[in-house]
């Protein structure tokens, strides 16, 4: 039996840290904007007693903010809130993780397991799964499983006083004690592709399908059911990786909360 830590250690120990992508001109430009902002801000505040310096800084700031907000590019720290600004397609393709207990029952992955407060934007993980080889996918799955078990333990051990802690940063449907009580120990992670087709007027779901792309357990990828054909199909159907993740909700729906379509425990779809 693996412990949470040995699972994680085994995963990361096998493949090592995630490789950092090469520097691209786009990345360099982003970092330059960030560094430029920091330098300009420090200079402006140090020289804040000179009204012209302040005025110039503020003018430059608003010009940049307006430009980035009109163009829709998030070059940190200049940020925009372009959410759901595109036309919604009739066919939606999503990817999600589910944890599996010892009895084979599935539960949608609660993204809050990853960061304790909020959670990963899970599309950042799912969008990488195709790029990675099997050992790294197993490492990702092992990490998610370890975090899920840690998070589960924190939920099951918390007292009613947890309500007096800092209020959550958002309203989300997350795991709770009652829901978790229906599951045995989490022993694996499954990775699904979901496809949802809506009617032309958008008022009805015409079809829904899901496909198991992979399954990982602490014993390794032995139980992986992912085939090359399925993987190829998944890549083809995947929305392109957005250059600007701030507006990614237009392209890659973020899977963050338990789905309504998830079967009740004990039922594997």
């Amino acid at each position: 039996m693996f412990t949470v830590h040995t699972i994680w250690a085994a995963g990361i120990g096998t493949v090592g840290p995630a490789p950092v992508p090469d520097l691209t001109p786009t990345t360099l430009a982003r970092l330059a904007v960030l560094a430029g902002f920091v330098v300009a801000t420090v200079v402006a505040v140090v020289l804040a007693d000179r009204p012209r310096v302040r005025t110039a800084y503020v003018a430059g700031f608003f010009v940049c903010l307006l430009l980035f907000n009109l163009v829709g590019v998030a070059a940190l720290p200049f940020m925009h809130w372009h959410k759901f600004s595109g036309d919604r397609p009739e066919t939606e393709v999503l990817y999600e993780f589910r944890v599996v207990d010892a009895a084979g029952r599935e539960l949608d992955y609660d993204h809050r397991a990853t960061l304790a407060v909020d959670g990963f934007s899970m599309y950042l993980v799912t969008s990488r799964m195709d790029e990675y080889d099997e050992p790294r996918r197993a490492a990702v799955a092992a990490y998610l499983l370890a975090r899920a078990n840690t998070y589960r333990a924190s939920i099951e051990s918390r007292s009613a006083l947890h309500l007096l802690r800092f209020p959550p940063h958002g309203v989300e449907d997350t795991w709770d004690e009652l829901e978790l009580a229906e599951y045995d120990e989490f022993v694996g992670v499954r990775y699904y592709r979901l496809e949802l087709v809506t009617s032309a007027d958008g008022t009805a779901v015409e079809s829904y399908s899901e496909e198991l792309l992979g399954e990982w357990t602490p014993d390794g990828p032995a139980s992986t059911v992912r085939s090359d054909d399925v993987a190829t199909e998944a890549v083809a159907a995947r929305a392109p990786w957005p250059d600007d993740p701030a507006s990614s909700t237009d392209h890659v729906p973020v899977v963050t909360a338990p789905a309504r379509l998830v079967a009740t425990p004990g039922v594997t779809r």
């Binding site: 995963g11 840290p17 995630a18 982003r30 970092l31 960030l34 902002f37 801000t41 505040v45 804040a48 302040r54 800084y57 503020v58 608003f62 903010l65 980035f68 907000n69 829709g72 940190l76 720290p77 200049f78 925009h80 809130w81 372009h82 600004s85 595109g86 036309d87 919604r88 990853t114 960061l115 304790a116 990963f120 934007s121 950042l124 993980v125 790294r136 990702v140 092992a142 990490y143 802690r165 800092f166 940063h169 958002g170 309203v171 979901l194 949802l196 809506t198 007027d201 958008g202 008022t203 779901v205 993740p245 701030a246 990614s248 729906p253 973020v254 909360a257 789905a259 309504r260 379509l261």
Partner: protein, 494 residues
Amino acid sequence: MFVNYLASRERASPVNLAVARVLLGTYLLWKVLPYDPRLWTDLPFVGFAGYVRAIPPAPVLVAEKWLLVAALVAFVVGYRTRWVALLASLLVIHLATVRYTVNTGGGTTALFFAAYLLVFFALYSRLDDLSADALRRTGTRPIETLRAHLKRDRDEWDRDESEADGASPSEGSGDGTGGDDGDGEVPRSFPTTPLLYGQLMLAIVYFGAGFAKLVKGGPAWFEPDNLTRTILVRNELFAMPVDLGLWVVQYPALVSLLAVATVGLEVGLLVALLARKPVWPVMLGIWGMHLAILPTMGMFFFDPLPLFALFVAWDRVLGGLARRDTLDVVFDEHCYFCARSLYPFAHLDVANRVRFYSQSDAPSRYATRSDADFGAAMYAFREGDATAYEGYDAFRELTRQLGFWPVWFVMGLPVVSHVGKPVYRYVADNRSTHFVCSLPFDDEDAADVPDAQDVPDAVEGLDGVGVDGGQGPDADAGAGSGSSGADERSHADD
């Protein structure tokens, strides 16, 4: 409810700026304290690759978090605002950038907007006259200025929001240069430049959101099927607190109306701001939009609520909380420490319900009371109430008068008052020892204070013998006070 700060660049009180500072700092503490940055690093995958090179080792992130917490606490109380706001803004930006590599949601991106606000507070820190820094700056002012500030007629408050909201832009400099320089007269109006720029920043962000829908989505974005599909998919895939979304999608006209309203609100905030029209309908509408998204689409993050709350007319709220009657406060006019201590209370008296007197101009009904020793403690007198509230109780009545009911209640708890009264007594008895406090009168003078209303010339004469007057027995005290003030100014300018 919300102020259009482009139309009302100056307020009669520094309350709005101070409340916004406290709210912003508290909001960021709420955001940052629960974070565990160790979970953001050493991941087996790369999140958003654009900024992975900005991720330092986990211990550095943890140190940054706690340094940020310390800076935010100092920011909340307004201590060395310029530098702690700069430090906090840079730390927020870095933490948000690192967090952005794993979470690109609104809860993360809102951190950048908060960081901008911190920068504005840093740039215009001298405008904040209700803060620890402002209290420190009172040490650079002569006691006459502080007394005048406490006693001055606050009729300007009657120049209320309606006039201020429609005021000519020439009323304020807009650049925030009209702030307190620390050694002049206490200003009678207070530029709110950080709030103006903060409001403009948020308006641009929402304008960008509306603009993107118009350009990217075009007319199709307003077709019922678009928003209907968005709501439907969210309802099918995610657990909803109620099924309002599935009800809404049955009414295409309603959905189109919601789409138009969404873009109208997003674009309208900047339009209303620049047109110097009331912004409260738009800001309330955007608040409502965020709240309505919860039952219809199952998404909600709190950040817009505190960010918008910065622009509430808190001075009006405070004025509404103040008691309707009048409280008369008599303080020792020769006590520099006392005048400095009351300085923020005068700012908080936005409803002009507190009248400050000193021994020399106190009405005879107070000056002749045998149960009040104005040289030994501060006193408060309420209309229709024969009680002479002394020292600790006088401060407690001040909090009640100004609308701080919870503080008044807590100060009345036996355990608190049993500690508070001896502390007040100790401070009052030793204020000359521990604080700058000149006492120019001897006991005979203090016991025979003329009624200012009866003998105005005598009052002027007494005022002329202030700590800076350099006359008679006050000269040494005045020099000492001035020296201390210069020292404090040098610190305040750090």
